[in-house]
Each structure stands twice: as structure tokens, then as C-alpha cells.
Assembly symmetry: none
Homo-oligomer: 226 residues x 2
Amino acid sequence: MDINDVKILLVDDEVDVLDFMKYNLEKEGFWVYTAKDGIEAIQLAKKVSPAIIILDLMMPKMDGIETCRELRTMPEFKNTLIAFLTARDEDYSQIAGFEVGADDYITKPIKPRVFISRIRALLRRLESNDSVAKVVVGDIEIDRERYLVVKGGKEISLPRKEFELMSLLVSKPGRVFKREEILSRVWGNDTIVGDRTIDVHIRKLREKIGDDYFKTIKGIGYKFDA
Amino acid sequence: MDINDVKILLVDDEVDVLDFMKYNLEKEGFWVYTAKDGIEAIQLAKKVSPAIIILDLMMPKMDGIETCRELRTMPEFKNTLIAFLTARDEDYSQIAGFEVGADDYITKPIKPRVFISRIRALLRRLESNDSVAKVVVGDIEIDRERYLVVKGGKEISLPRKEFELMSLLVSKPGRVFKREEILSRVWGNDTIVGDRTIDVHIRKLREKIGDDYFKTIKGIGYKFDA
DNA sequence: CCCCTATGTTAAGAGATGGTTAAATGAACC
DNA sequence: GGTTCATTTAACCATCTCTTAACATAGGGG
């Protein structure tokens, strides 16, 4: 997922808070939308389909809890990440929040660095969930729920890294994934591993799944093809 | 996309706002046009085909919403990015805006840094849409995503430099690329290579793709033609 | 028509890149 | 704690890519 495609919807009745969050998020390259109450938020959310919605708890018309409950009843927001914004001493309300399907809590006052890293954490969660549970390409099927690859009816179980790598490549058959991209999506942005690590994993996959499925694009990366 | 080719059309009835935005955008190297109302905006847009149009919501003669709706009915502006400019307390109008096909909202007062990063974000969106990995010219197709050249249905895979060179030439069929320009775009500004290097790569392309596609312009460079 | 320079052609070798293997490290599970 | 599996590293090898150099050819200006 490219960060520049990530849309975030901020909902709060205090304009200052909205502006502050918006400024910080935009500086990071996110795509930010704002609403001042729950009604407005739901309408806007339907239009722009944000990846993340941040709801203030206390709002006029429809409060955060209510808005969240409402959103969660609509199928299109089943997988949207919803975080609540609370003042520190409202902490008790977390229980109610998680009950209506919140994914995280962020406490005011907002500190930019903490805030951003919180958002990034949410995003990582989204990334690991957003691929559909089952992908089928040709005679190969990937079942994310059971961590299994099924090839011609036969189940093949793969270690975690191999599975994630396979899963990434299969998610867009034919598309070339650059080594750099593979590293950041399978190993994580900050991990430093040696040059041969990817190759070794590719080798294992070729061994277990079949040579022909994984093509090397020299100087660029790898792609999956059936 | 070269930033110096990016045209932006600003539409607002307040001259001060226009000037302020124009100043900031021109400083970044954008090509800026301005109009004072919707009628003028549409006429100018037809003439210069801007990549981005920024419309103030409140304007005489024809307001932003109306102008946007009008523009969206014309096929040549199907892919143009349109952003609205709104005062903070007009936020509710976002809903109407997205309905007529707006791509983003920018709130006044304008803060230069946020404004520019917003424009760049829009631009990235544009790029990811139109450089969408596929260029088709005659019976030749270049697929950046799959790192493949397809000629008459047959897939031809090229080594990196050849692919980049091909990709560059095909990106503007008929246009002559100077040797110097080819060097800096395919090899990089700092690389020093011998005289014959480009020729050898062109030869390989002629061999693999076909002689007739690559024309030599003596003393200048090369061009691609179908 | 000839000369000069720019480009075409070829093959060879240097260099980059990925493949392979085994062994070291680390994590998880009795 | 020992065992097993997953993961990474390191060393070495194989191959592909790119560049060069040497020579051939073409084509425009005089």
C-alpha cells in the first residue's frame, strides 16, 4: 500500500484539534478528510472510503461510540480501522469503545510523533489484514486463514516468511515486486538483512511449489506467474 | 512527468488569494494559470488543458460546484484533477463537492507548505493513474508493472537497461531524444560511459523488437516510431 | 564524389547479480 | 536443557548484463 493513497477521516467538533491533526498527517503524506460530527462523518466516509477513521468521543449530534456502532453495521466499513480520541480522564470509556468495534484509542493531548507512529501501527495492521483470506491463481490457492498453500488439491504448509513472500507475490500475479519492496513488505521497513536472504527464500519456494512459478527479473526483483 | 510541464489552473474571485497561490506554486516550478470565475475558467481550461484545477467554492456567475459539474461532463476533463477551495466553516459542503466529482478539498486560509504538499499529493495520484504501467503504441505494448514488452501478443523480456531505454523512447513516440538526454535519463546524470554504449543497446533493441521501430537522427539522437 | 565524422556491428571480458549450499544463529516447544 | 524447525549468513559458483574496443559503414557538406 502506498502511503500517498491512504485516506484518513478525522472527526472532532473542535476545529483546532482537527487542524492540528490534519497538519501533522498531511506533512507525512496522508490524504486527510475532516468532519465535525457523526452525521457528517458517516456521509463523508461513504463518499471517500477512508482506510482509517478517527473519532472524538464527545461530539454533538452523534457521539463517537454511536457513530462507530453505526459504521460497523454497514458492510463497507467492516474492515475500516476505527480509533477513538479521548481525553486522558475519559479512559473508563475504553470498555464501551472496544465493545462497539474500535481498533485503537488515542489520548489527548496529541503529541505529533506519538500520534503519527500510532497511525502507522494501525496501518500495518490494515496491511496484514487487507489481503483477502483466499487467493486462487490457476491451480494454486493461498489460504491466509489457515496459512496454507494448496496446489492441485495438495496442501503445502510453509514457514511464516516463505508464506508471506509467496502471499505477496501471488497477490498480484505477473507484477514485478522490486527487491526493496519485498524487503519492506515482508521483512518490515526497518529490518536489515543480507543480500542473499530473499534469494534463499525464493529458492525454498521454487523447491516446494515449483520452479516455473517464480520468475527473476535481474536487477529489479521477482514475480509470480502461472 | 516533469514538474515543469505541470499546468495548474487556479480559479477564485479574490485577486489576493489568486496571487498568493500563484506565487507559491510558481516558486515550485509549476505552470500557473488563473481565472476569476467559472465561465472564464472553463474557457481557459479548454485552451491550456491543465493537469489540476483548483476551484473556489464561492464565486460570482458560476460557483465552484457548478463549474466542476460542467467540467466533468466534458470528456477532455474526465481525468483532470479538481480540488475545491473552501473556508473552514463551509466544511459541510464537502459532501456536495464529492458528489460532483471533486478529488480533494483545500481549506482556507492557505498555508504554503501544506498547500504545496497537497498539490504534490494530487500529482502523485495523477501519475499513478496515467503512467499505469502500460503504454500501447501500435502493436507494441510496454508493461512497466510486469517488466515486459509485448509485440503482437508475444511477450519479450528485456534486460534492465534495454527495457529502460525502450521505455523512454516509447513514452513519446515520434519525439527525438538527444543522446545526452538518453544518457541522463537511462544511465543517470553522473554516469560516464563510452560513445558506443547507447548504440549497442539500440542495436539490441532493433534485433529483438524490429529494425524499423528505431530511427536514428544523425547528430541528434534516436526516436521510436510505429 | 570524396572526406570526415557519426553511427553500426561484433565479440570479448569485466562486473554485477542471482543461485546454491551448508553451517551458524535464533525461536519455539516439549 | 535438548531438540527441532525457521531464518539468516557467508562463501562460492554460475550466469547474465553491460561496457569497451576495434573495425566497418554510411551520409552530409564541401
